[in-house]
Symmetry: C3
Subunit: 443 residues, 3 copies
Amino acid sequence: MTPALATPSAATATDLGGQMHELIADLLPICRSITGDGVRETLRRLQELVPLVTHEVPSGTQVLDWTVPNEWNIRDAWVKNAQGERVVDFRRSNLHVVNYSTPVRRTVSLPELLSHCFSLPDHPDWIPYRTSYYSETWGFCLTQRQLESLTPGDYEVCIDATLAPGALTYGELVLPGETTDEILVSTHVCHPSMCNDNLSGVAVATHLARYLQRERRRFTYRFLFIPGTIGSITWLARNEAVVPRIKHGIVLASVGDAGHVHYKRSRRGNAEIDRAVAHVLGRLGKPFELMEFTPYGYDERQYCSPGYDLAVGCLSRTPYARYPEYHTSADDLDFVRPEALADSYATLLAVFDVLEGNATYRNLNPKGEPQLGRRGLYGPVGGGTGERVDELALLWVLNQSDGRHSLLDVAERSGRPFAAIRRAADRLLASGLLAPASTAPES
Amino acid sequence: MTPALATPSAATATDLGGQMHELIADLLPICRSITGDGVRETLRRLQELVPLVTHEVPSGTQVLDWTVPNEWNIRDAWVKNAQGERVVDFRRSNLHVVNYSTPVRRTVSLPELLSHCFSLPDHPDWIPYRTSYYSETWGFCLTQRQLESLTPGDYEVCIDATLAPGALTYGELVLPGETTDEILVSTHVCHPSMCNDNLSGVAVATHLARYLQRERRRFTYRFLFIPGTIGSITWLARNEAVVPRIKHGIVLASVGDAGHVHYKRSRRGNAEIDRAVAHVLGRLGKPFELMEFTPYGYDERQYCSPGYDLAVGCLSRTPYARYPEYHTSADDLDFVRPEALADSYATLLAVFDVLEGNATYRNLNPKGEPQLGRRGLYGPVGGGTGERVDELALLWVLNQSDGRHSLLDVAERSGRPFAAIRRAADRLLASGLLAPASTAPES
Amino acid sequence: MTPALATPSAATATDLGGQMHELIADLLPICRSITGDGVRETLRRLQELVPLVTHEVPSGTQVLDWTVPNEWNIRDAWVKNAQGERVVDFRRSNLHVVNYSTPVRRTVSLPELLSHCFSLPDHPDWIPYRTSYYSETWGFCLTQRQLESLTPGDYEVCIDATLAPGALTYGELVLPGETTDEILVSTHVCHPSMCNDNLSGVAVATHLARYLQRERRRFTYRFLFIPGTIGSITWLARNEAVVPRIKHGIVLASVGDAGHVHYKRSRRGNAEIDRAVAHVLGRLGKPFELMEFTPYGYDERQYCSPGYDLAVGCLSRTPYARYPEYHTSADDLDFVRPEALADSYATLLAVFDVLEGNATYRNLNPKGEPQLGRRGLYGPVGGGTGERVDELALLWVLNQSDGRHSLLDVAERSGRPFAAIRRAADRLLASGLLAPASTAPES
């Protein structure tokens, strides 16, 4: 029998939703970026929950076609008016500074200041999130109301930051399984004070790891907490030997909002992970959407580049840029919901359960049906106690187990839930009617 | 030219429908089961119509994963009340006894009697049909009205049956064709006094055999009249050498009711038989339904087990368990209709005609079109007598006959009836423009 | 970079539409047939526009399954009434004579005359077009009004024609490209005074050739101006060595009427030409129709015969026999429109542009995304002048360029216009990120 992962009970789910939301609240104030102490502090706190390992990759390291950039750290930043008042203040929100801004301290006129400012006219109370990783400049992000209140005159601008050789930091947690085949869970950890994008992904991944480390696992699970793009590129560059072991993978991003689940398929389009997610979502009785692969998005862009072509999809609730709060200060603690976090968690666990159980078997009595009755697998009418035998599931597994159809294939063809098919397979295994196929599944 | 089977004329069809209905009426009173004299008597009467051979397989014979059970025969059965009146009487309907009941004769209280009784509360005047082949017990089937009229008190129950070593009996009729490739027609003959399930299948199969034995046949036809499940398992166990010769097959069950035709595809899903049936049904202008394979149903379960995976589908009118009369005394002579029997017969003949004619050819003049005009295959405008040449069908056959497309492929791609495509192929063969392809069809 | 063909500007299109309409007007009076001086004169006039070569194939030459027929030429024809008046006069319309009529001069009664006459009762003012190439007879085509005005009495009929050994004439223009792979454009030139069928095809093909001869071409273009059926058969018979070089082809017929474009797929059904046309038509924002292959139609019948199976489709506006003017004198200069001719021309050019540019590449940096920013391929926000970089198109080309997907594959999967995908590929080539794949495209 293959390992089985339990769906959390309603009480457990509520509890977990609350814990994930608390973790987000704890991590929210930290000013993260693609490098620097914000990521280090974030990973340090996660280490209180799971035994992840941190890696430091020096600035200047060549990683695939890229170079690890200088490390950015920031202590303070502000814009002061002629009266010396902080009209923009990093201490109130780290989104006020364009992430990766170069250090600056000087007096500028209002027009020059405005040329370095970003705001959202349509959402006058929200601060936008902007970055400038690979082009050296500085800037401030303001609410539209702040911007409009600026009067002509000189302003003192200060960004007390450093952009200097250091390292890129990422976290990695490997939970060895019964096999070296891996399931990759990757989430970006580079965004400053925003909740859905992507402390939600960080929180769900962390709690999945907490659960999985206690369970029997066929697969080895690898969790990556990495800065977007440069982080996955760095990891791929350093782990060429690991890549072929990754059989399934999923990127988590924006998994805490109230919207329904969206899954973006891998580049392969119909990989086992794609089919497992589609099967699970199709059975939950809740709205969901399957999206075709595109080469734009999160780190699946790198995992699905043609030189790797890994079976990695991306799970979100409302996908990026489809909600107005995306990349603004309105992506806050109210925007992520404990029940949504718990639902994302439970969905992923159900997907992993399918992957764990999706073996391919051979019917050891392939000619005609075996006589199930004398093996106690065909319930006498009205009789029997204990677990009800799902006869049709037994017949489907027997009929399709020719070594070329996985249990997920059987579930799809029969239209029955994977769990029922798997339970039938387990009973047939126990009865000696089934054996693992030596050959790999057909699809 | 390949053999062609004629569609019966309206008069012939009416005549045939009547004959099949009479055969059902003749066989109806016999108490059949999966073994015993009821099957023997049934087959004996069929032998008056077709030269089928009967086989007797001793009880205890190992057949695949199963064992041929003891033979069951019954003389009489009843429940008598305190006044000695038969309140349940086998002589009125053999459905009153749970088929394969063990012998019993004793006095029981009403509560004990009721624990051995089956009725249909929703259909108070119908007797249900119940069996207990592989678990030794006894029981009676009553109408709900009978059941409700039983008053407290003692009852004498008697089932004067024997369950003892004997044999399993089945009938087999082989009509050798020009080739040893076979078409299998299988129908279950184990049900007692019910008409649609499955004297309808028995009657249609018998009359198909009567017709086919007089016709030119490319295929060898094998008709099996067998008890359900154990019969096909027994036949398969004894005929390993025959199995590879079965190219197409069909199970007949419930083919006499007024509903429209349902065809359940073989496990392969798109076997030639599946496509032939779909083509025929799609052209008849009547409602029909194609159903996907499931491993539940009739003997196709055994033929389509993964160790055989034969191209065997199942033809019914209203499928089992979709009509309330199913497995009750209401499945009677009124429930089956001569015209429905004749329609099932004609549909099957049309399917066999497609299979007989579905050859794959090679255009002997594959470069450019051959000049049809000088061969009399392209009618001068307004001229000519006799059969109108279907020029488009000729062009389709010429165009697609590259040795990789069967005539059924051509019919499907062109959207033209198989008969028109086949007639065109016959004309082209006669003109020397076509030759049988040495290679097998692509699909 | 692969060659690119410019879409004509609106002004150029108007101009071209006018020129093509004028060419049709110039060629309209000539009495063409499948052989004879009409075709020669037509080709001579085309030679004033493009350097096509004419071929003369002697009568009696065996071509595939056919024989080149005797040459037909006609000087005059008429039906005179008892008063010596020409009641039917070839000089008024060459449609009045059944094309390929045998010479005749004699006096006939009205009934005998009528047995040689064709008219269109539903369109009393139109002259039908009839031929009798392969069955020796003579006849006249009249308007219904002419026919009804014939009074009893004797008539003198005269067809002053010759049907004698000569030659079959066709035109061929080869525009060598950078490779010997060919695109075939075939159009029938055998119809007498009708415009849409098929002087429209002749005019569009001629002007496409005029344009293409001045452009850089990856493909060699071969234009055939041939009599229908016997012409393509003759060409195929004489060019066995050329046939394998034809990678894509299209037959032009009825491309000048006001209807929307119809494209009939090649026998292969999803050849590159089929997909290129579907892609182009799907992007024009105008109605169009894609039709499945049938073995009836124009010379694609011969090119798509199974011994060749060339990737040749057929482009029409309203397909033959779907407009009442088809094969009548009403297929005149008003029936073809300059703007429709120009639209057909532009559509074909866009298709050729897709074919010219549809290369398959290999991403030279296949592991992870290359850093586009430092190559100037990822525009800084709000900055830059000149061509806007289509980042998503770049990412799609990089992601899919694994040597197995052509740019047309990428365009189809991404849902973006081919031109955008190709422009992205050109930029990536220029940046050294892409190289031509040595292997052929997958599909």
